[in-house]
Amino acid sequence: MSVLVYVENAEGKFKKSTFEVVSYAKEIAKQLGTSLTALSIGNVADSALAELGKYGAQKVLSVSNDKLKSFVNQAYASIISSAAKAEGSKIIVLAASFSGKGLAPRIAVKLEAGLVDGAVELPELTGGKFIVKKNAFSGKAFAHVELTSEVKIISLVPNSYKVVEHPETATVTAFESTAAESDFGVMIKDIVRASDKISLPDAELVVSAGRGLKGPENWAMVEELANLLGAATACSKPVSDAGWRPHSEHVGQTGITVSPNLYIAIGISGAIQHLAGVSSSKVIVVINKDPEAPFFKVADYGIVGDAFEVVPQLIEAIKKFKEVA
């Protein structure tokens, strides 16, 4: 009856979003008066697996297998489903990461489960109901979705739930892969990771810029500011459409929806489609020379000024702040 949480790793290491889902799943298990089991697939060191106890996992199932070292969607879905059956788990939690978005729907069909993809808060459990709040209309609204199936699956938006320590002693047990040969149809040919870059969907701080920067040659200051802060870089749709920046940086209704602690928008006017993608940011700073830019209406802090003057000054001010701190 335990809650099952799938703990995703990147090259053998757990990321913050993994600790977020463990913390989130632990709170659900607590409210339901049951225990928490974590499932890891891929080659993760036992010490890292045992560390999941810090966030509340009492049991860790580990599938360690060279064929499963990298993400194989169908095989992973088969294993997670059979682990849920073996544990008698009726609630499965995972991250709404790129992999999680591929996995959760397949698990849902295997287990005839209702799925909330992109949860942003803990479920409401009053009166025997199970209602989960999720992003809808690409950040313009939230929906409260009731799951009525026996098995329920939730994928959690990165950076929407805090990592909470809840020390338990986690026992690590090997779990046998149940994936069939037919689950390995998709072959990975190449993985390209920009190791010096912070991944945008996971980022706690984001520095984003728009057409106000006039051309791709002017992005050096955006990158410098992002590096100084340890932030990911992002952009508006016209910028990625023009090929100044890659599509993977496009934030907005038809791009990536982000929910960082801080979103700095430089030279972005704030079209409704862009605002949709950033509305769940905790703090928004807008730098724009047009005082009428709609972005100021949804900003927490604003500077009316020319980006080419303000941003270099901001970089200097942050350098000074870092020296003191």
Partner: protein
């Protein structure tokens, strides 16, 4: 070659989202509907790959009769024919089941969808259809090329990309980069009216999820303006007041 593209009928991206009936219903008054923008990318790539007599593109939509203008738009863009499953799309599981049920005997070489719909943002349908049909699914792709009996896809991952090869048939959900959306020309618009649109009845399944209510994000307080000549004040505020750096 036969390709199936799943399209969703969604409010235009400029729509101000509002709700009625105590926040339980989406307020559709005055709302313009469009093909989900990601589905348009999928459709454009399918048409490119079938150009020059290499194949046919069928679009499928789960919706009531009101979605027909959106389906006709897809036909005008260049799809060869269309199927409408005559039911309100109550949740992703239901929609995926209808698509899988219609596609299972269709002999499609591959199926494409958008990465997610811009209304319910589930990003569930593609992988669910894959599971229902027991075929590979690759979610959130940025590139798609065919090489005979297999396809090479580029999939987005955190901080990078992954290149995968999948045998046919498969289903993939498309994001920006796969293709540029196409604008229908006059000939397309004229011919769309007479292209075949089949209407099929849905299969019933048990409900697994239901939207109980909606809410809009809480408005933010008044913006605090900081003088452009004194940006260190912003750094102070972000540190001591907002506590984000």
């Amino acid at each position: 070659m036969k390709v199936l593209v799943c399209i969703s009928n969604v409010p235009d991206t400029t729509t101000k989202i509002a709700f009625t009936d105590n926040n339980t219903q989406f307020n559709a008054v005055g709302v313009q509907y469009i093909i989900n923008p990601y589905d348009e990318i999928a459709l454009a790539r399918a048409i490119e790959l079938c150009e020059g007599g290499k194949g046919t593109v069928t679009v499928i939509n789960v919706g009531d009769a009101s979605t027909e203008p959106t389906i006709r738009k897809a036909l005008a863009i260049g799809a060869d024919d269309a199927i409408r499953v005559n039911a309100a799309p109550r949740d992703a599981y239901f929609v995926a089941k209808q698509i899988a049920n219609t596609a299972k005997d269709g002999g499609y070489d591959f199926i494409l969808t958008g990465r997610e719909s811009i209304d319910y943002n589930g990003s569930q349908v593609a992988a669910m259809v894959g599971e229902f049909l027991s075929i590979p699914s690759v979610s959130i792709i940025k590139k798609l090329d065919l090489n005979g009996t297999s396809a090479t896809l580029e999939r987005e991952i955190e901080g990078g990309k992954e290149v995968v090869e999948t045998p046919l048939p498969f289903i993939a959900s498309c994001a920006e980069g796969v293709a540029e959306p196409k604008i229908p020309n006059m000939r397309g618009i004229m011919s769309a009216r007479t292209k075949p649109l089949a209407i099929v009845e849905p299969v019933e399944i048990t409900k697994v999820a239901e939207v109980k209510s909606y809410e809009t994000p809480a408005p933010r307080g008044q913006v605090k303006l900081i003088d452009a000549g004194d940006v260190s004040k912003l750094v102070d505020a972000l540190h001591s007041e907002a506590k984000v750096i």
